[in-house]
Each structure stands twice: as structure tokens, then as C-alpha cells.
Subunit: 211 residues, 2 copies
Amino acid sequence: MNIVCDLFPNLTQLDLTGPFEVFHRIPGARVHLAARTPEPVRAEGGLTILPTIAFADAPQADILCVPGGWGVNEAMLDDELLAFVRRPATWVTSVCTGALVLGAAGLLDGYGAATHWAAMEYLSLFGARATERRVVVDRNRITGGGVTAGIDIALRIVREIYGGTLADEISLAIEYGPANDEVRERVLERLGPITKKRLGAVALAAQKLRA
Amino acid sequence: MNIVCDLFPNLTQLDLTGPFEVFHRIPGARVHLAARTPEPVRAEGGLTILPTIAFADAPQADILCVPGGWGVNEAMLDDELLAFVRRPATWVTSVCTGALVLGAAGLLDGYGAATHWAAMEYLSLFGARATERRVVVDRNRITGGGVTAGIDIALRIVREIYGGTLADEISLAIEYGPANDEVRERVLERLGPITKKRLGAVALAAQKLRA
């Protein structure tokens, strides 16, 4: 399972890092952060992320995920980025104003879609049907609302592909959903060996503190 | 206002990037990502972030924020990191198992605190009173639950220092809170000049798509 997110300057980092936190917890998934060059990419506010792969070397995406941000203004007019986004993918998804990039690539024409609430009016210019929901699934396009909605979008993708069990487990692991006892037991069981290691470290740190 | 977050290998990146998305939206705030060296820091799952400052050069923190993650096992025993965390700060905060680092630094002795649900039992080893809440404020310590709770923690910090108006505006901007019409108007007004620029870019991209 290859999950490919694209990086561009002045993206809203949480549009990317929210879904990333969900995606990398999918067993067997590999999350690629693709950019034109290997140079670090500076997001809004100055958080700087290293790409893991160049556009040219990225594998075919099972899931493509496009974040938003003020940098979308340039991204929508960037032919190289648009060509990358147009490459065949099983699921084509976006967070926040990443939907405008999908729109500019011609990928939302005739689709229901969502974006950040302050950008909803722009979707129709790309032939998309603006839909005021946190996550919108229309055939293989999954788009959603602003910034933190990326977490919901990613969990919905997991639910669509892997079912509710894994989605609930990841949700609980990142404390995004209500703690259901049954899910809690399953997650604890899986965490078993590493929590034992953690207890050892905590005991040592506590001992050191008291020394 | 200097907000200082610390980076260490194998942190849970969303523990850091969630609060970052809130903090950098505080007018006049500067968010520093401090690490021992300027080398990129690899979080769980392989997302790699560049520090903005070395421990030695970091300014005094108005807000110190410590993320969690499996790397906490090493961080709890890292004297240099613990010394950095112990430097005087107006607010001392943590996300997820970052509370264990505060605990190991001796900063939670006698305090009510929260952490990831699967790590709650460890807090007492550092003299903290484990408190099953998403955000716990005890004097100048603000700690909270796992991963996504970092967004709530950061919004609570904004609320404590700047009041509800700014917290509501940031919350709406990142679509984390219910859309209140009054807040929506204020945010839209502030966005005015940049949304006009966005409309220009969208129109151009749509024109290009149709050409």
C-alpha cells in the first residue's frame, strides 16, 4: 500500500501531518512525502519538513493525498505539480484547500467535494458541487473540510479500505474517538511488549530523579 | 511571546504539529523548535522535521511545550534534554507522553496531570496525580491526553493567556470548533485581503483548465 502526499511551499502543515499520523499506523502502509526536489519544504508558520521522494521517483499511489494552505494559490498554477496530481491513483483525496489543487487539475469536475469553509465558493469554478460536510466521498474522490478535518478524512479512508476495526483502533491510539472498552483491550494487547519496555524506562527515570 | 517546543528522535509528530498549528496563529508569537543539534529530527513513521534552534540558543520560553512518543523512553533518561526542559518558563506544558518527560525532569511532583490513556499509570512514579481528562491545568502546568489532545491543549493555553475570542477564532480557522456566525464574520473580515488574492488565483487556474 503506497500512500503519497505531496509537499509544496506554504502548505498548512497540519493538513498533511494530521493524515500522516493516521496513515503511518496502517499495517504495511508506506507513506511517501513527494516534492519536486529533495529540498526541505517550509510550511506556513515556519515548520519545515523533509520530502522522502521526488515526484519523478514516487510509486503509483494507492492513496494520493493533497494538503491545502496559502501555497495552494501557486500550486493551482504549477503545471509540474498538477501533472503529478493527475497521475493515476486508486483513491484521490484532499484536505482543506487541497481540493482547489484537485480542482485545478481537473479531477473534481462533476464530483461532490468539500474544502475549508472559507473557500467553498471556489469549488464550482472547477465544476465541483460544493458540499458542506466534514468528509465527502464521491466515487474514488474523498475530500473534506479545513485543517483538522484531515484527521477525519484519513480515518474515513481507513474505514473505506480496511473497515471500521482498524479505523477505531487508530482513532483510539491517537485519542480521537471515544474510548470503547473492546477497542481499548485490543490496542493494549497489541501495545503489550512495548509498554513493558516503557515501564522499565519510566522506573529508571523515576529512580534517577529521586537519587 | 516565545513558544518553545522541543524535538527528539521518535517523537509522535502530531503531538508537536497539532499545537504548532494553533501556536503560530497567535499574533506576535514566535514558535521555536529546539533540538540539541540542527540535524533534522525523524519522528515515528518517518516524518522528518528541521529544528529552528539549538537548545543552547533558545530564548526563555513563555510557553514550553513537550511532545510525546516512543522516543520518550530515551528522552526521560537524557540529562541534556531534561536540563533544557527544567529551564524557567512561564507555562510548562506537555502533550501525550510528553508528561513523562516533565515527570522525569521533576516538574510534575505534586501536580495533577494527564497523559496518553495507555500511560496514565506511570504518572504516579513521578509524584504526579493522574487525572483522566483531555486537558489538565494545575497552576502553571498544562498537560493533556494523547496525540490529538495536543490541539485541545494548545487552544486551552491560548484561552488561558489571551482569552476566548482568539481561541475561538483559531479554532474556527482550523475547523476544530463549531462554526459560530459571529466568530465566522470576524475571521472572514481578517481574511479579506488574502481571500481576494486567492479568488484571482482560482479564476486563473479555472481559465487555464478550460483552455
